[in-house]
Symmetry: C2
Subunit: 444 residues, 2 copies
């Protein structure tokens, strides 16, 4: 299919190509546009039916969107924008440089301009910035027959009519009724009698993560957004929520890897900007790690008399870091998914203490066998290293399990308390235990 | 509201409590049931209308579900199950111990038993195990009016009627038509003329991650599932996909933290089982880290003459590990979200080389100032440490950026190539560079 269309375009058979593209899914068509020679792309784009052109435009890569908008006339731009849903328009404008945005705003009518400006002013990651205004609204006094008739008239332009919102004359939300319910009800039934009045809603300023939580908890497909006076101003659909869920998971993951989070695609972000997001935490952690160095310096004499001790430092540090990361990752993710609540802190402390003991005994035992029998390190040294390993593992587990919860209680992001930071903390403690044990047991 | 109902139950005013619960959202009602005294809970559960009882049951915690099923009669169990959608029944049965499953299967009719057994046999994490069979199907010869009439008759029992599936007499999927389209079309239009024939579908054996990818790419709310003969056997709805997306992100995160992934909630999993999931990778990494120890042993003499060198080992190891984790995390997530493709490997190699150089120069510079001016470590030692740091950062970035892609190309899970493994690899290389540079520059 794709190859066939590309071939048609190659042979300048534009009309035939268009007739094939029209049959395609808009997402796939947008993908196809990515591979067409840019001049030919404009020809095809111009001869597509307006609604399909707009639909394909929505799914294009932002670079390609910019190219298209830069190349078509103002009039054509208006045609495209008029066929977009408002949330898609906003998504697109947010990606464009300001000169393109200005040009587009200049070419829309005043009413639309006001709406767009209002949307661009909602805080990023707020419910307002996610919503669209193309919803179907009804009045509660209508009978089902009239309601269906009304939906038939207005439905074509709406993002969804599967759920209809019942509002009063001040636009205050009074209830919700699904198209399904309308269809399954008798024609003479009045909306008031079948609408649900216990409606879940969010405010324009609610954070997108909070909104996504609602969708997950109640298995929603769409949700109304109200302003501070409980007036219906928009709806959020589940497809945008799926993007939010991915975004939030990415953000957590970045923070857990000590990167300042960013939503920009890796390959499209400049090296400078990527470096800038990575340097701050690396610097902080680097400087913190010098404390660990200080501990080694303090025990220089011990090291000088038994240099062999130094060779176990990497293994102890790595194992401690890994053990702590495991716990902190489980807890951070549990907190993000609401499986774990801050009030569970004592339960977690105890659990990690138990798990740490089991894991610590197994690792210490294997480690002892390895360095006593394979590395032939002497009984006391083997014992010192294994004992330190055990204590390190237990401690790392407890620290890794508890710190994310403490962070949450102090209204910090638990994701900061992940591998890198835990490792730095655990390293220092590990070395302290190591040298304390060694000087004591080995009499140095 | 919640407090009021709990108070009513406390005062044994069950009927009044029921009348309030009936008005609640089923998810919230299930949450409320968690807090009711268990004996009283059964009384309330029994006097709820059957469909609401089933709905609340679906959203209960599996422990509570088990308690309810264990306590009610076989007849009551049948009542509950008959009011559940099939996918919820399967979800519930998968959580129950085998004696409960057996008892339930004994009490369902033979047809249902066959269906349930078939579903329980789909591979976990397959499209088959996610789907439900309550969909609305139409024949393409129907007129819109007849179709709507038919939907009205069968609609009440269906999971969704917002999208209807057009199948032939062998149940082969021929097209799809939305309820919206039906409503907006003329009553005499024939389904054949308004149905979409370019239908996206998955096979019962497709992996859930693949299915979730489809939902994301095409912004779907529901998707048909076909068997190997292209017959429609079920549908998957977007609420189940949201769970899949969370699950897959959790799974990746666990692997990245060197834990064998598990879907069980942390607080409900036994300490033994949690420990068992953590030990294997810790053991592997612990044993790998002893190679790093071997390197230190090889340079024992160098260390003995300049013991100060040992004190920079933790900082070098940690910074290398962190720098590598940053890159591998970005790449692993990019691969999971399909923003990065294996064919981009050379671009990424080059990008990480550039970013690594920028980050490396900044860190090495700050580090030099710190240890030369603050720790007063001597020019040559400061230079040795900073040069090693620079090389380590560049190398970690490249290794961290490239290894996940190589893993993917070898059909391994890129998530394994995360922090812990990268750190272990980078540590060894760092120490080798460190001692090589030191012996060379310091003449030891």
């Amino acid at each position: 299919m794709k190859e066939k269309i590309l071939k048609l375009i190659d042979e300048n058979k534009y009309i035939q190509a268009r007739n094939e593209i029209v049959k395609m899914n808009a997402v796939d068509a947008a993908g196809l546009f990515d591979e067409i020679d840019q001049r030919k792309l404009l020809i095809i784009f111009r001869i597509l039916p307006k609604d399909i052109a707009a639909d394909v435009f929505t799914h294009m890569d932002s670079d390609l969107q910019k190219y298209v908008i830069d190349s078509i006339t103002d009039e054509e731009t208006v045609d495209v924008l008029e066929n977009l849903f408002l949330d898609d328009t906003i998504d697109f404008l947010e990606e464009m440089p300001s000169n393109v945005v200005k040009r587009i705003l200049r070419n829309t009518n005043e009413k639309m301009r006001t709406v767009i400006n209002q949307f661009l002013n909602y805080p990023p990651e707020s419910a307002g910035s996610l919503m669209t205004i193309e919803y179907a609204d009804l009045k509660k006094e209508l009978a089902v027959k009239q309601a269906l008739q009304y939906i038939k008239e207005i439905g074509v332009d709406k993002a969804t009519i599967d759920t209809c919102y019942v509002i009063n004359y001040d636009r205050v939300l009074e209830g919700v009724v699904s198209l399904r319910r309308l269809i399954l009800s008798d024609e003479s039934t009045v909306i008031k009698d079948i609408m649900e009045t216990d409606v879940l809603s969010v405010n324009t300023h609610d954070d997108q993560e909070y909104v996504a939580g609602f969708f997950k908890k109640y298995d929603l497909n769409v949700m109304p957004v109200l302003d501070n006076e409980n007036r219906l101003v928009g709806i959020i659909t589940v497809d945008d929520i799926i993007d939010v869920i991915d975004q939030e998971a990415t953000e957590d993951l970045h923070k857990m890897a000590a990167i300042q989070p960013s939503q920009d695609a890796y390959l499209k972000t400049s090296n400078w900007s990527l470096a800038k997001h990575r340097i701050p935490w690396l610097l902080i952690l680097m400087i913190s790690a010098t404390f660990t160095g200080g501990i080694i310096q303090r025990y220089e004499n011990a090291l000088q008399s038994v240099v062999l001790l130094a060779s176990f430092i990497p293994m102890l540090m790595d194992t401690g870091g890994n053990a702590g990361s495991q716990s902190s990752t489980l807890i951070i993710r549990g907190l993000a998914l609401n499986d774990i609540k801050p009030k569970d802190i004592l339960k977690i402390l105890w659990k990690e203490l138990c798990i740490g003991s089991i894991v610590g005994i197994v690792l210490a035992f294997v480690n002892f066998l390895r360095i006593y029998y394979v590395s032939k390190a002497g009984l006391l040294v083997s014992f010192t290293v294994s004992l330190t390993l055990f204590i390190t593992v237990v401690l790392s587990k407890v620290v890794g399990g508890v710190l994310p919860i403490i962070a949450k209680q102090f209204k910090m992001d638990p994701a900061i308390m992940a591998g890198p930071l835990i490792t730095t903390i655990v390293d220092a403690v590990t070395l302290l235990i190591y040298f304390k044990t060694a000087t004591h047991l080995l009499n140095i």
